[in-house]
């Protein structure tokens, strides 16, 4: 497969996963606002700032002159073409890559992407707010599910598929780590509130943002507990949005790409990813909390970036 084509497929996987995560993040956080008591402007700032920070685009948000309101956050993360990670830009990039390599993907997959792009291009924040953002973000998430279902059921298992999957899971690991980090940035009204109602609501929002609320409860038959949520979202080998699960999928696909059956690594991408995966296998949630969740997630993101870079150097920049 051409390196350029592989790169396009990798990024289609990433961009659609990214759009999906942003849509869920907004969906959940708009939803929980309704439960807030005494909602005022400063509370809204406290609510949205960590979320926008988690996307890594806080500075851009400020420099574009936005104030932290629900409308501003939605506009910035959904429709703003100045924001390279807005949903619209994710869709534009996914579609552009799909156009480039449309000979590599089934027509129905291309059409699904194109359709959603055309839809989104024609809708603006005005009407989304009029009709209620819930439906809109559901639509984006449904598209992402449709895309994944179509890919799963129509794409030949070969390099193209493996690169798309690799992109998807690299992005997912990154996004889950960022969503988890949101909790760090949220200031609780006071120290005594730890473990209180507000704290629990926030951890619940984190779980929901990762579609993990129900899965968490099936796994731990107990209340929402910060250490358990952390453990679940980082280390679970069975929950498909957990970081460790995602990394296991990245490794699996990297091995399918190199088609080497040795138990050792055959390229830098496999090496970086394998090392991170084994770290996650042998570290405990206590280790993480001792180090500090935010510090650990910071470190994790650096490592995830190295995985992404190693994939780029191994396959895309010959």
């Amino acid at each position: 497969m051409l390196s350029r084509v592989a790169e396009s497929l990798f990024w289609i996987g990433r961009y659609i996963e990214r759009a999906d995560n942003i849509a869920r993040l907004l969906d959940v956080n708009l939803n929980i606002l309704i439960d807030f008591k005494d909602l005022n402007d400063s509370r809204l700032v406290e609510h949205w700032e960590p979320i926008i920070r988690s996307t890594g685009d806080w500075d851009l948000f400020k420099s574009l002159g936005y104030k932290s309101s629900s409308r501003a956050a939605t506009d910035f993360l959904t429709f703003d073409r100045e924001n390279p990670n807005s949903i619209i830009n994710c869709l534009i990039s996914a579609r552009q890559n799909a156009r480039i390599i449309r000979d590599q993907i089934p027509s129905e997959v291309f059409e699904a992407i194109n359709d959603t792009y055309l839809d989104l291009r024609d809708s603006g924040s005005e009407e989304v707010w009029k009709e209620g953002p819930y439906q809109f973000y559901q639509k984006i998430q449904t598209f992402s599910q449709l895309f994944q279902g179509m890919v799963d059921s129509t794409v030949v298992r070969g390099l193209g598929y493996y690169f798309m999957e690799t992109g998807k899971f690299v992005e997912r690991a990154d996004k889950t780590s960022r969503i988890l980090d949101i909790k760090y940035h949220i200031l609780l009204p006071s120290v005594t509130d730890v473990g209180g109602v507000v704290d629990t609501a926030q951890w619940t929002a984190v779980l929901r943002s990762c579609s993990a609320f129900e899965a968490y409860h099936r796994n731990y038959v107990t209340n929402v507990d910060s250490a358990l949520v952390t453990e679940f979202l980082i280390f679970s080998a069975r929950f498909p949005r957990a970081i460790r699960f995602s990394l296991s999928k990245v490794i699996e696909n990297l091995h399918l790409i190199s088609n080497k059956r040795e138990d050792r690594f055959s390229n830098e991408a496999e090496r970086e990813c394998g090392r991170l995966f084994s770290d996650l296998t042998y570290i405990s949630v206590d280790d993480v909390l001792e180090q500090g969740l935010h510090e650990y997630l910071d470190y994790l993101q650096t490592r995830l970036n190295s995985v992404g870079e190693a994939i780029g150097e191994t396959f895309f920049s010959l």
């Binding site: 497969m1 051409l2 390196s3 350029r4 480039i100 059409e111 055309l118």
Partner: protein, 486 residues
């Protein structure tokens, strides 16, 4: 003014003083359109227009689009598709096939000759200066061997019909003609929307085009390569025809590559893959000669591959079409195609060309300058409807501008009498009106010459316009070749 009574509102349809593809001058329906005409009668008045909208939406959804340059409104548009099909009866098509095959043979023999012995010059048929001043003549490729002596593998000849319905060749397009993908998509769309329009006696299929194209590419592989790897070289996703490049590559199952995907080592061409370099034997290139190789042609080309021409000269990679075919597209050379047919094949040309006056000839230039308001003036080396003066429709200022241009550089211009292209009923808004059409059949030249039945019918959607190019308000129609004559 003539009116025709039809259930689908043809009552206002006017044949006017043109050759109409569907209606005789007296308003009766031509035999090969009778079956379609009968089916149209069963159609509710609005149905055609609703279906038209549905097809437009489907094309947008499927990304069947072309890119409009200098247009920031999304930059992609669908190539308007008109649901009213154009029909060609079997006998007429047989004649066209013969005429085009003959022309194709002569053009390939001409290119072989002009890049080697140049007999056509030494025997006084074609003046040397016409060839040597042609912008796309490549003297540096004299005597470079070409696989199987085929220069043009893919050709898209433009045909028009005059007031009497006679087919004329307008231009040959021997470089890299585009549009075939729209033809393939048009047929798919037509089959979905109006399956019961197609005559029971059958319409010749267009499906095998990409198979034949792949066979043609493999046929011209360098000697000794048993299982050649062919690729399609595109300028990239921003090119207006990218959709087409990608469709053809997809249907052939070959890689679509950009210049940066290819690399030349030791005079062999390779593509960069995730598993390392892989050898490439045949390149269906959709970029012009000028951009192929910055070492040889334009130094600023970002689209090409450094060293490609060297690999080509050494016979390590084949190009479709070969370098230098553009000389056959030159509008001065065009005038001599009938002579070529006589010279190389000892046959009389079956298809006529449009009468052409050369501004570089003193006498003919005098005639041109005296009759500018009656003639169509064309640049010798432009395609796509650019650089053209349509005298009868031009303003005084435009005519004077061309007068200056012609006097300054006579070699660059030719003139032809305006041909009142045939017209065809076309869906315009919620009416059916006559619009001018041409026909571009696609010819493949490999082991044998094969012509895709029909071709792309382009239609000038603007009222009265003769310009059918997609970049200038043109649309297209599905084109049916019947197995019989009615």
């Amino acid at each position: 003014m003539l009116t025709i009574d039809l259930n689908m509102d043809f009552s206002k349809y006017e044949v006017d003083d043109f050759f109409d593809e569907m209606f005789e001058a007296d308003g009766s329906v031509r035999p090969h359109y009778k079956a379609l005409h009968a089916r149209l009668k069963e159609l509710g008045p609005k149905e055609m227009f609703q279906k038209q909208k549905a097809v437009d939406r489907a094309f947008l959804r499927q990304g069947v689009t072309f890119t409009v340059y200098n247009d920031d409104q999304g930059t992609e548009r669908i190539f308007p598709f008109d649901l009213f099909p154009r029909i060609i009866p079997a006998q007429e098509w047989e004649f066209l096939e013969k005429g085009l095959t003959q022309r194709m043979q002569a053009l390939n023999l001409f290119l072989k000759d002009i890049y080697s012995e140049q007999k056509i010059i030494s025997e006084g048929i074609l003046p040397r200066e016409h060839v040597e001043t042609a912008a796309h003549f490549r003297p540096e490729f004299m005597n470079v061997p070409v696989p199987k002596d085929i220069y043009i593998h893919i050709c898209g000849t433009d045909l028009i019909r005059d007031r009497n319905g006679k087919y004329l060749v307008l231009e040959d397009n021997a470089r890299s003609p585009s549009g075939v993908s729209y033809l393939l998509e048009n047929r798919d769309a037509m089959k979905k929307v109006f399956p019961n329009f197609f005559p029971q006696s059958g319409t010749k299929s267009v499906d095998s085009y990409t198979e034949e194209l792949l066979a043609t590419l493999k046929y011209i592989a360098p000697d000794g390569v048993d299982d050649p790897v062919a690729v399609l070289l595109t300028p990239g996703v921003y090119n207006s025809a990218y959709f087409e490049h990608s469709l053809l590559a997809r249907r052939m199952g070959i890689e679509i590559v950009e210049g940066n995907d290819l690399v030349v080592e030791n005079s062999f061409v390779y593509m960069r893959t995730t598993e390392g370099l892989k050898r490439v034997d045949v390149i269906y290139r959709r970029i012009d000669d000028d951009f192929l190789d910055p070492q040889v042609f334009r130094k600023d080309s970002m689209l090409g591959v450094s060293g490609l021409v060297d690999a080509y000269r050494k016979g390590n990679v084949s190009l479709a079409n070969t370098i230098g075919t553009g000389v056959a597209d030159d509008k001065l050379i065009y005038k001599y195609v009938p002579d070529m047919i006589r010279f190389y094949l000892s046959e009389e040309p079956l298809l006529e060309s449009v009468e052409t006056f050369l501004a570089s000839d003193d006498k003919e230039r005098e005639y041109i300058l005296a009759n500018l308001e009656k003639l169509v003036v064309k640049s010798a080396n432009e395609a796509g409807g650019y650089g053209m003066l349509i005298g009868p429709h031009a303003s005084k200022a435009e005519i004077e501008e061309f007068r200056g241009l012609i006097k300054a550089k006579p070699r660059n211009f030719i003139a032809q009498p305006p041909i009142s292209l045939s017209r065809h009923p076309t869906v315009i808004g919620e009416e059916v009106e006559g619009r001018h059409v041409d026909l571009r059949p696609y010819i493949l030249c490999g082991k044998k010459i094969s012509i895709l039945p029909g071709g792309l019918t382009r239609v000038a959607l603007r009222k009265g316009s003769l310009v059918v190019n997609s970049s200038q308000g043109g649309g297209s129609k599905d084109t049916w070749v019947l197995y019989g004559d009615s």
